[in-house]
């Protein structure tokens, strides 16, 4: 009691949370205020996240005792380097998607912007809370806020969106319930819920069946939440049927938050040696990730719907992140974290472009996009940058994350993984080059008759509105910056986030 700490960590989550509560009241009387309020909250949150990251870099982890009760009795917010990285990523992406969503929401779901933005902000608050909290059960609450909002946002899409959303509800609830069960087991074995306290109490209990099973349930639950290969069935439908802005938001953030929680528990609550030596979770995860990379890419290759292809590509890229976690060495971990951030940007960017295409032309099928570069040059350019990053072509951020993953695989002496990473890049090249071919070249060598099927774009509205273009350009710039200043990013943000058990010297460039 009577502890006073700097309120920066809590401000990051409070800005979107309180604004989302305010929106129904404000929107009831004065609809035009909704969007500016949303943007203000997102910007405020982003600014607070930058401030928090600056302080973390300067003074080390930030602590905030909610209600003034010291942990383990009260709930603690703890932002360390990993949390700061995630906070920056989440707040930047959501701010960009927030700006972008203005036109696309008016277009796709008219007359519902008040509940939409309220739920949008709740999702953001849930994600921020999830990465800030240091309490296992509080993380569950935020995880459920995130899931509940994602279900609702997916369901407002078109066509079979409700069915996809229902499937997402069932699997998502299993995932979250397994997490809760794991928390129950860990609480039963140790008597605490605070992460730091758990990390202190757990080592003597590593052989105990309760802890092992709790850990197993946690890994299974988070695998479902992050759509790791055999449990990915909810993802393609959810991503492809959701409204465009929602696809970008969810693809960029929710699976990443689950991956964050997995990393947090595997490497920070448990010591890394637990998942390497005591039970071979890392091995299992590595191979599952490799399988997901190959099969996800192959399935992406088989899709004719642009958003569905991107969704399957997400399955492959999540496999990539999990493979990096499974390598369990410093380079692999760095690769996984970098790829997590990069993928958030590039998949967000790709979905934003897909949304802009749908907004402007109403087309979703890849083969219908013939010659779109003439009509929407900026969007196509952004798509190209994101695609290059996805494939892993040098000036972009994607190249470096794949490089680190390769280094990690080589260091682990696992040549199969090296081959898988190369193969998945080639497959990504295959499915993205296919799209690029349609975007840039008006016709095939053989298909003369397709010339007639020009895209029905209304005249004088060739490009998307600036509220859509701006965020897309920002994402593309972000990807290039992540590539060009990769060394800075790794040194400043990723290396401090290495857990204690993994050797940091390996990452020296």
């Amino acid at each position: 009691m009577n502890v006073h700490q700097s309120a920066v960590p809590i401000l990051v989550v409070l800005a979107p949370l309180i604004t989302s509560f305010l929106l129904p009241v404000v929107g009831w009387r004065f609809r035009p205020a909704v969007f500016p309020l949303t943007l203000t909250a997102l910007a405020l949150s982003c600014a607070a996240a930058f401030e928090a990251a600056r302080r973390v870099a300067r003074d080390g982890p930030l602590h905030y005792y909610l209600g003034g009760w010291a942990p383990p009795w009260g709930i603690e917010f703890r932002i360390d380097a990993l949390g700061a990285l995630m906070l920056l990523m989440i707040t930047i992406i959501t701010l960009l998607v927030g700006i972008y969503s203005k036109r696309s929401v008016l277009h796709e779901i008219p007359s519902k912007e008040v509940p939409f933005y309220s739920v949008f902000l709740l999702l953001v608050a849930g994600l921020i809370g999830l990465v800030s909290t240091a309490d296992m059960f509080n993380a569950y609450v935020f995880l459920e806020i995130t899931s509940l909002t994602s279900y609702a946002l997916v369901s407002i899409g078109s066509g079979a969106a409700v069915v996809s959303a229902f499937r997402y509800v069932i699997l998502g609830t299993v995932g979250a319930a397994f997490y809760l069960l794991a928390v129950g087991y860990l609480y039963g074995a140790t008597g605490t819920l605070n992460m730091a306290d758990l990390a202190r109490l757990l080592p003597p209990l590593y052989e105990s069946p309760a802890v092992l099973v709790g850990f197993a349930f946690l890994v299974i639950g988070m695998s479902i939440k992050m759509a790791l290969f055999p449990m990915h069935t909810w993802l393609p439908g959810a991503y492809s049927h959701a409204p465009s802005a929602v696809s970008a938001l969810i693809a960029a953030t929710t699976t990443k938050a689950a991956a964050y929680l997995l990393i947090r528990v595997m490497f920070f609550v448990f010591e890394p040696r637990f998942s390497i030596e005591v039970i071979p979770v890392t091995t299992v995860l590595g191979w599952t990730g490799a399988l997901a990379m190959v099969l996800g890419s192959v399935m992406a290759l088989a899709q004719s719907d642009l958003k569905r292809m991107l969704a399957y590509s997400s399955v492959a890229q999540m496999g990539c992140i999990v493979l990096g976690i499974g390598l369990a060495n410093a380079a692999g971990y760095t690769g996984a974290l970098l790829h997590l951030v990069n993928h958030a940007f590039m998949k967000g960017g790709l979905f934003l472009v897909a949304g802009a295409i749908v907004y402007r032309t109403g087309l979703r099928r890849i083969h219908e996009l013939r010659g779109l570069s003439r009509h929407m040059p900026v969007a196509t350019f952004v798509f190209t940058v994101c695609a290059f990053a996805m494939i892993g072509i040098p000036p972009t951020g994607g190249f470096f994350s794949k490089l680190y993953l390769m280094l990690g695989a080589i260091e682990a002496g696992n040549w199969v993984f090296v081959a898988v990473i190369v193969l998945s890049s080639l497959l990504a090249l295959a499915y993205l080059a296919n799209v690029l071919r349609y975007l840039y070249f008006p016709r095939d060598e053989d298909g003369g008759e397709d010339e007639a099927a020009a895209i029905p774009i209304p005249p004088r509205r060739h490009t998307a509105p600036w509220t859509m273009l701006g965020p897309m350009i920002a994402v593309a710039a972000g990807i290039l910056l992540l590539g060009l200043f990769n060394g800075e990013v790794v040194d400043r943000l990723v290396v401090p986030a290495l857990p204690a058990g993994l050797d940091a010297r390996e990452v020296a460039r």
């Binding site: 502890v3 309120a7 809590i10 009241v25």
Partner: protein, 142 residues
């Protein structure tokens, strides 16, 4: 499948009278549960659900239009927001008084923690009641 009450007809007189006469008692009990969570089982959540149940009973007694007549749509959402805002707002007040978020210590009352808890229990009660009714109404009128 037969529906009760049949289309266009009011519910049975016995059900109507019994339900209507029960409603005030249920609401009284709900309020008791909200404010008495400090010393007996209960609290904002349980009380809020009980209050919502009383309105549900009213809807059963007077037919489907009753809820719409008694509670305007926007008010339900405003109530749901008001409850959480009361809760989150109290936290902000604590923040403004120089303590951590939701630390009721510096509130200007004789027993600040007890009062703080009462305020948030009331907030929880309002939100839960409004949210449950809102879900109920949306589903009933879909």
């Amino acid at each position: 499948m037969t529906r009760y009450p049949p289309e266009g007809q009011p519910p049975d007189i016995i059900i109507r009278v019994v339900c209507r006469s029960l409603v005030p008692f249920i609401q009284l009990f709900g309020l008791y549960v909200v404010v008495h969570g400090h010393s007996s089982p209960g609290g904002g959540f349980q009380g809020g659900v009980t209050l919502a149940a009383s309105f549900v009973l009213l809807a059963l007694a007077e037919g489907r239009g009753a809820l719409r007549r008694h509670i305007p749509l926007g008010a339900l959402n405003a109530f749901a927001s008001a409850g959480v805002l009361l809760y989150a707002g109290l936290g902000v007040v604590c923040l403004a008084l120089g303590a951590n978020y939701l630390d009721y210590g510096p509130l200007p009352f004789a027993e600040p923690r007890s009062v703080g808890m009462l305020v948030i229990e009331i907030g929880v009660g309002i939100t839960v009641m409004a949210a449950m009714l809102s879900i109920f109404r949306d589903m009933l009128e879909f």
